[in-house]
Symmetry: C2
Subunit: 441 residues, 2 copies
């Protein structure tokens, strides 16, 4: 039986950095073309690649014909022969205007732009649905980890209670290495920069901005309500001391920067990013190096964990390509992936009301009565102590506390009380602890 000729899907790509170049190679390398066409049910043709500098050499995309390069992104997406646009420019503008204009014409968009999605994801999703087309963004959170599709589709009927993710590879590499080597943050950061795992200006990663954008996206998908990025509490890893990472391990915990989206009360959610002590037997604790993982908890499903490479051109391009093929199949079938366009109201809970167990390291004078004074500061503020260890430091002592679950407000009040005590020389690390005790204790 002669095969009928394959239909063609014409693709414009905006941006050709690390991920873009890997995607271009996956699409253009003749070695994979037949298999890709079979999977998509179409020949995937790249009609143009918009870049900032078309004259720049692109050794990582050897199959990319120079003739496809253009510096005119707006002109490229305005072509009337496009079936699909992949946006990998990053940033809010011009990416946002370009994506909106494409969706408005009923043309599917695949993007990995977390900043754009955190800022305008809800609006762009509604735009796609209104015009009967797809907006794919699997690559925006967790690299190759299929968390977006799982939340949008697999968990479509699930009442999700909490999503916790290791969604930033740079900080996970730094914290994992601090734990393994017993090194300081500054030393490991320098090592990560030398290895290319951290940027020369690491602020977006180490201060938690990258993870906060992803937390906003995860919270919106998990709970179906708008979560402005400004409402995400954010605390990076620059204040995490090597001594606390080591002591956490001694106590049976790993320190991880987690993005957490949690249902706190009826219609109340919390989205936040902070260093967190995770019990060593929790599946998130063993996620090392540059890997990402997302842990989803639902009322009926129980816990589900997804794990894979969170960054890197090729793994991220693989996630983009999955969305491209999905959108191409839909386009050919005159179909799209419907999603709820209505969102519920939910209010972000202020940090004050949140409850965690806490780890505290306090340097005190080593003399009688000190522990009583310190313990009184906890008790006066309604915080119950679960365990305490004392480490001698010559004339001083270091007290390491694990508390039972307490509110952030009570912990802040306790810290303020402790600071007024003469016997307290310094309050060292303060870390939140998850799942270290049964709920309700």
């Amino acid at each position: 039986m002669p095969e009928s000729p394959l239909p063609v899907i014409r693709i414009a790509i905006l941006g050709c950095g690390n991920v873009g170049a890997s995607l271009v190679e996956l699409l253009l390398d003749p070695a994979g073309a037949a298999d890709l066409a079979r999977r998509a049910g179409a020949r995937l043709e790249v009609v143009g690649v918009a870049v900032a500098d078309a004259s720049k050499a692109r050794p990582s995309a050897p199959h990319l014909p120079v003739a496809l390069l253009t510096e005119d992104a707006a002109g490229l997406v305005a072509r009337d022969d496009l079936d699909l646009v992949v946006e990998l420019m990053g940033g809010l503008e011009p990416a946002g205007s370009l994506v909106a204009s494409v969706l408005t014409r009923g043309i599917p968009v695949v993007t990995g732009n977390k900043a754009l999605l955190a800022d305008r994801g809800l609006e762009l999703g509604v735009l796609a649905q209104t015009h009967g087309t797809d907006l794919g963004f699997e690559a925006a959170v967790g690299g190759v980890v299929p968390v977006i599709r799982t939340l949008r589709e697999s968990f479509a009927g699930e009442s999700i209670t909490r999503v916790m993710g290791i969604v930033n590879g740079t900080t996970n590499f730094i914290l994992s290495t601090m734990a393994d080597q017993g090194s300081s943050y500054d030393d490991v950061l320098a090592e990560a920069q030398a290895l290319g795992y951290a940027e020369a200006d690491p602020t977006a990663d180490v201060e938690g901005y990258d993870a906060a954008a992803k937390a906003a996206i995860l919270a919106r998908l998990a709970f179906g309500c708008p979560v402005p990025i400004e409402s995400v509490y954010r605390e990076g890893i620059t204040g995490v001391r090597g001594v606390d990472v080591s002591f956490a391990r001694h106590l049976g915990f790993a320190v991880k920067l987690l993005a957490i989206a949690e249902q706190v009360g009826d219609g109340e959610i919390s989205a936040r990013v902070h260093p967190t002590m995770v019990p060593l037997d929790h599946p998130l604790a063993s996620v090392g190096g540059a890997f990402n993982a997302v842990f989803i908890e639902g009322r009926a499903s129980g816990p589900v964990m997804l794990y894979g490479q969170g960054a890197g051109g090729l793994p991220t391009a693989s996630a983009v390509l999955g969305d491209v093929i999905d959108a191409a199949r839909h386009r050919l079938a005159g179909s799209y992936s419907p999603a709820p366009t209505s969102s519920i109201d939910c209010s972000p809970v202020g940090l004050d009301e949140l409850r965690s167990a806490f780890y505290l390291s306090i340097d005190v004078a080593d003399r009688p009565g000190v522990l009583a004074a310190v313990a009184t500061a906890f008790g006066d503020n309604h915080i119950s102590i679960r365990s305490m260890e004392q480490v001698g430091l010559g004339d001083e002592a270091r007290l390491i506390f694990l508390t039972h679950t307490a509110t952030e407000r009570d912990m802040a009040a306790t810290l303020a009380s402790l600071e007024t005590l003469d016997v307290v020389d310094a309050i060292g690390g303060v870390l939140r602890v998850i799942d270290g005790e049964e709920e309700g204790n």
Copy 2:
């Protein structure tokens, strides 16, 4: 702004066992109705539930009105007001005929029937596509673990090299408990039966039939080619001895029953189920108890692991409900989830050609020259020994070998040679080892 009335999706459910009853409760419990309707974009109405005995009491589905029960499954699916059918009867017939008749009418089907999918999945998938509708079967493999959607959609563009899964909770519980307690297979099986984790007749689980059906489904999805269940090599856990599980742990491995789908050569694949030694630092090694996990490796993606509860009414019903909502959204949008209807040819590789490292336990007489004789049997059959440990047993000794990678044919020949040796009293456990050494060694 007044809300327009929600459309209605009318659902027939075939089967009301453990998963069916949990699904009925998720759909009918008024507490979740509003949230569910919002997620689906429709009111999900159960119009009938087909069961074998309508007079039986159903305490696990307290919200199910008796009037919805029917013993006439064929009559139920023939109704002309259905939007969606959920098949949870299990078995090949009448489930297969009913599912086919529904798909032929362009009505979406959600099923968790692994036997049916392993036997007729390709044909039913084509039927769904031809009639522009959905066939969802997330619950068929891995319970709540979203492996089907990940393989069909997220990895749609990926060149997958291997999929390995812990897909049977009963055997994973037994093997995990043998390792933790140092107990024998028979003792732990009895414990699992007493706890309700294993059936009175555990054959389908412990002999690997359940896992083999899932391996066939995973192989078909991963490689896009038909994989008859008869071509899946199957070896259960009844021959796994407590002493081998203990020794494996001593050597740094966990013993797991893995379903493996692997690309061996160009167009050649292997689908198999057997007890496997997994290095303790591999993510699959720490998947304990009744949890399931699937480890997917792709050329661009690298490794991805998905993890969650593999059985249980509620988690599995959660997976079914995800498919139901997805299909409902599609139905409302006049859309469906397109998938490739063409499949490539691939030939199953015979076991003889497969390469693994091996673990072997051999009981021998404890006298000079024995090791030389045994080692000669390996060498004559081209098998290179990676490590050997001797354990004294009075007059006897037990030799524990780990080999480098070798073919099954050479290992079978080695075992045959060993059996002819006078000094060999018994060949004990033989286990395949994955990823215990770099490839190519």
